[in-house]
Amino acid sequence: MTTALFECRNLTKFFPIKNLFRETGRVHAVEDVNLTIPEGGTVGLVGESGCGKTTLARTLLLLIEPTSGQVIFRGEDMVSRSKRQLRQFRRETAIVFQDPYSSLDPRMLIADVVGEPLVIHKVAFGEDRDNVVLSLLKRVGLDADHMYRYPHEFSGGQRQRLAIARALAADPKFILLDEATSALDVSVQAKILNMLSQLKADLRLTYMFISHDLSVVRHLSDHIGVMYLGRMVEYGTREQVFDTPTHPYTRGLLAAAPSLDPNDRDRPREVVLQGEVPSAVEPPSGCRFHPRCPDRKPGCDNVRPELVDIGDGHLVACIPG
């Protein structure tokens, strides 16, 4: 067994909706999520817009303060810590965002963009910093003469390389990749994905990979969590989730993704999901998926299903019928 690097217990995040005077409602962004990220692993999170993938990940990094629950990093609870006490935690965790056009400051030189974490964490200054930046750029496949340019001079793929170089600067152990390749073309995406695998092996990193693209998550992750309206509905190894999907939502999601085989077009799909994701302000009672569920049973609208181990750590939140 590998040790857990990250763990969250009953993590919940509600965003209040306020009018001028009082709270009028809450967005149930993440509710009661338990998750373990083993050291050296890659955990993928999939789900549709608004299902809470990004909120969960950012709460995990304490970029958003959780409403309740624990975030445990290397065995220690981080939620109760002060900002000063979190500094080491901040150094060991990093994030790469989806859109490399808005995540790099257009008025900063690349040397400053990539070197900023080094200065903030007091790792290296001046010439030392430049040397570290240089080796980081080489690591992500860029050249020394890129150091004194501005972000607008780079293509989308190169910018994402810069964002990765910056994430690596303070020598983190954990990187959150939030839709890191979603804005890229297929051939550029292939290069970035290969590079991420290589970096992980070289630097012994732990990844959390968020994407709505199932094939990308499948390619990179060894464990996968499927989220729906703020809750984890299925969790397991890549093979468990992709080869034997069990929750009706997971099955519907996998069936909805277009396949690369033209012969599949005439094949009837096992599960076809109708309708749209309901609002997270007033989520459905019981199982949140029940209004769209093809296997709905009478109890589904009032009993909340818990994640149950159906064998070898494959967790599914669905009332068996």
């Binding site: 051939s187 277009p258 749209e276």
Partner: protein, 329 residues
């Protein structure tokens, strides 16, 4: 298979943009045909000229761009010879378009029903009240739940999926012969995107329209299209029926592109990379535009643009490797 009639013939279309930085050769002699009642896919990466092809067909190439040469025949009529006034009668009526981003292509200040009814009023001169009624009907057809009520909503009150359905309803109002769909599912979630794919396919069968489907997603091509053209840097490099493309891709770019898709390989394998990056189209590479990145590059590739060869019936490849195997066009 019986020979079917072509609805749209695009013949050696050349579109360029005259910018201060130089001439962008966006389309370099693009040719393809769309049969009546089929879905033709145009697939390629950003900047390869897919969308410029669409705007060229509609006569909407934005300045400083211009169609330089070529022919676009819709049922035998050359659209490039029509003036603006005549094109207004074609757009929205005989050719309709669905855009990628329904949020920015719907007018935020008008109710959905009114926007969908507009083509009825403009092209078919129906009275307003009748047009609104008909709009509600077509919204129901595209899967709007309680269309009567939703027709009175403004675009911001609808979800992304419903907005895209409204766009589709609008494009179908005048029963166009050709529907151009420019990445209509790219911004949508997987399950909603799938609903839209199914919807377009059902409606296309019902209305019998031809569709030009523009996308960067090979999986969408596999599930939607009958024939496919693969574009690279302003040219169509390979064109064939969809099954042949996935079984027997011949152009080096298509081959590589198909192996760069994560779901196409075993998850533990490395993904195929295409060396280098897409060239800029100001002073693009001479000869075959793919030659600087190609594994099979030969001396001739950098000087002569390869002609399209028919290497098997209906399978055209623009690559010097196959020169002499078939009849050059």
């Amino acid at each position: 298979m019986e020979a079917r009639e072509n609805l749209l013939v695009v013949d050696r279309l050349k579109t360029q943009f005259f910018t201060y930085g130089g001439v962008v050769e966006a389309l370099d002699e693009v040719s393809f045909e769309i049969e009546k009642g089929e879905i033709f896919g145009l697939v390629g990466e950003s900047g390869c000229g897919k969308s410029v092809t669409a705007t060229s067909i509609l006569g909407l190439v934005a300045k400083p761009g211009r169609v330089i040469s070529g022919r676009i025949l819709l049922d035998g009529e050359n659209l490039l010879e029509k003036n603006d006034h005549e094109m207004n009668d074609v757009r929205g009526s005989r050719i309709a378009m669905i855009f990628q981003d329904p949020t920015s292509s719907l007018n935020p200040l008008f109710r959905i029903g009114r926007q969908v009814a507009e083509p009825y009023v403009y092209h078919q001169h129906r009275p307003k009240r009748q047009a609104l009624k008909d709009a509600t009907e077509i919204l129901t057809k595209t899967g709007f739940p309680d269309a009567d009520e939703k027709a009175r909503n403004y675009p911001h009150e609808l979800s992304g999926g419903l907005r895209q359905r409204a766009m589709i309803a609008m494009s179908l109002t005048c029963e166009p012969e050709l529907l151009i769909a420019d990445e209509p599912t790219t911004n949508l979630d997987v399950t909603i995107g799938r609903q839209i794919l199914d919807l377009v396919k059902d409606l296309q069968r019902e209305f019998g329209a031809s569709v030009l489907w523009i996308t960067h997603d090979m999986a969408v091509v596999a599930q939607m299209c009958d024939h496919v053209g693969v574009m690279y840097a302003g040219s169509i490099v390979e064109k064939t029926d969809v099954r042949t493309l996935f079984r027997n891709a011949k152009h080096p770019y298509t081959e590589r592109l198909l192996r760069a898709i994560p779901s196409a390989v075993k998850s533990t394998d490395k993904l195929e990379e295409i060396p280098g990056s897409v060239p800029r189209l100001i002073n693009p590479p001479t000869g075959c535009r793919f030659h600087p990145r190609c594994d099979y590059v030969m001396a001739v590739c950098s000087s002569v643009k390869p002609a399209e060869q028919e290497i098997e019936p209906g399978h055209w490849v623009a690559c010097h490797r196959f020169a002499g195997e078939g009849e050059a066009t």
